[in-house]
């Protein structure tokens, strides 16, 4: 069952991430792909994540697909203009890559080529519209394509953005632009997320809640301080602290698994997106503890 079919069937889906490395030695990445395939429904392949130059998403999507892991092509608007983006979308399509996640992308100042010229010729909402247009056999200028695409397109949303109203307005623009599914910024407060979902449920889209495993209370404090839209509640920080150094990671995994289990059992959303950031081997453990394997 494909990712799209899984979502449409009402199955509680799980996606994770494959991060292309910087350089041509992909052995570790291939190992991560092997760890994830057969367990999750699809894997996002990140696009020069955090504006750090790496192998492009498209090539790694193809490798993941050939190895039996369904890819979601992440596409940011930071590095390519409208011609480059459309051209890569057509390229993805002929390779058989049909899931795309449209994002604006972190600014070059966050990355390792700070002197680069940021592109942002278009942005996430406009990119979703372009994908929709390619699916209907036209490029963004309205010219006919020789053969259309069949993308299943998604977008991202930050349920705990502050202020939230402009973020919700953008969410709605993304829905209207053709987004079929959303993956969220990492969430740690199920009750707050429930409030967001009450709003999101008014729209015909699937929502996968984002997860980043907390390795320690220090990491939680770091996320609270430096990562936009992330709010780790104090009781979780206390729980990690009480676990002590040795058991902090295991406690973090338990917290994630517990939250995922609750989302699934109470049918709060349609699935989860686990951003392991180097701990891909922990994804199956989380899934097991959440009762999903």
């Amino acid at each position: 069952m494909s990712f799209k079919e899984a979502l449409e069937s009402g199955k509680f889906v799980v996606t994770a991430e494959v991060g292309p490395p910087k350089g041509t030695d992909i052995s570790e990445m291939l190992h991560h792909i092997d760890l994830l395939k057969g367990k999750i429904d699809a894997a996002n392949v990140t696009d020069n994540q955090s504006a750090v130059m790496r192998i492009n998403s498209l090539s790694v999507c193809k490798i993941a697909m050939d190895k039996g892991l369904e890819p979601i092509l992440q596409m940011t608007c930071r590095d390519r203009n409208r011609i480059g983006l459309q051209s890569d979308l057509l390229g993805a399509s002929i390779l058989g890559i049909h899931n795309v996640l449209c994002m604006t992308g972190d600014h070059v100042s966050a990355g390792d080529h700070k002197e680069a010229k940021p592109v942002y010729d278009i942005e996430s909402v406009q990119l979703l519209r372009i994908v929709d247009s390619l699916n209907r056999g036209k490029d963004m200028m309205g010219s006919d394509l020789k053969g259309s695409t069949k993308f299943f397109q998604g977008a991202v949303v930050t349920p705990e953005a502050n202020p939230i109203e402009p973020q919700l307005m953008k969410f709605e623009k993304k829905v209207n632009a053709g987004a079929n599914f959303f993956q969220t910024q990492a969430i740690y407060d199920i009750e707050k997320f429930r409030t967001f979902m009450a709003h999101a449920r008014k729209f015909p889209v699937k929502v996968l809640a984002g997860f980043v495993v907390l390795k320690s209370s220090g990491m939680a404090n770091f996320l609270n301080k430096f990562v936009p839209g992330i709010n780790v509640p104090q009781d979780l920080i206390d729980e990690l602290k009480a676990a002590g150094k040795e058991k902090a990671l295991d406690t973090g995994l338990n917290i994630t698994a517990r939250h995922i289990k609750q989302l699934n059992e109470e049918k709060i959303c349609d699935g989860v997106h686990i951003m392991a950031i180097g701990m891909e081997d922990k994804v199956p453990i989380i899934m097991e503890r959440a009762g999903l394997l």
Binding site: E123, Q126, P166, Q167, K170, K173, P228
Partner: protein, 223 residues
Amino acid sequence: MIITKQKDPNSILETISKYKSFFLIGCSECASLCGTGNEDALKDMAGFLKSNGKEVTGMMVPKTGCQTLGTKIELKKDKDACEAADAIIVMSCGAGTQSATEIFKDKPVYPANDSLFLGNMTRFQMFDERCSLCGECIIGKTAGICPITNCPKGLLVGPCGGMSDGKCEVSPDTPCAWVRIYERQKALGNLEEMKEVIEPKDWSKGQKPGTLATRKDKKELTE
């Protein structure tokens, strides 16, 4: 106005190392307000050059450096001093510098300033960029606040995921342009307007180099 900042004087010395004598040109408009092209700035530069073994044959602050013809006429009275110089150093923006390039057909011209942006003077010698001269103004749709300039990503459809507590992902001391637009639209009772998805920008409208003729006879000439 055009905001300029003087280059590191040592880097100027490095670029002009081949030459011995110089004529200095400033500008009484923007560069004077920025303190980079006024009489005092020119005098300081002359002093600096002399203390580094260079000669200054003369200096002049034209009314409007970017007005090529006017500057050319004003320079007539300094003909001899200009001729005596190996090279010209211009202390205005890049446009004024290129007026000099056009005027001095056979003399090298060097910029003393970096041209930064089109800016608003918020207080004396404090400048902020508000407009990037994109060729087609869209701020009628964004509460009179330019997202192309005030948002480092130039986004047209709302805040990015990097916005945090109303502040910008790129410069955390600056408010997010889209939060400002949102708040102003809300205060004006125009929040509905923010629901419109602004079309991708037509960059051909701002194609470089820009050219415009509003004078009637010139219009006819170019048609």
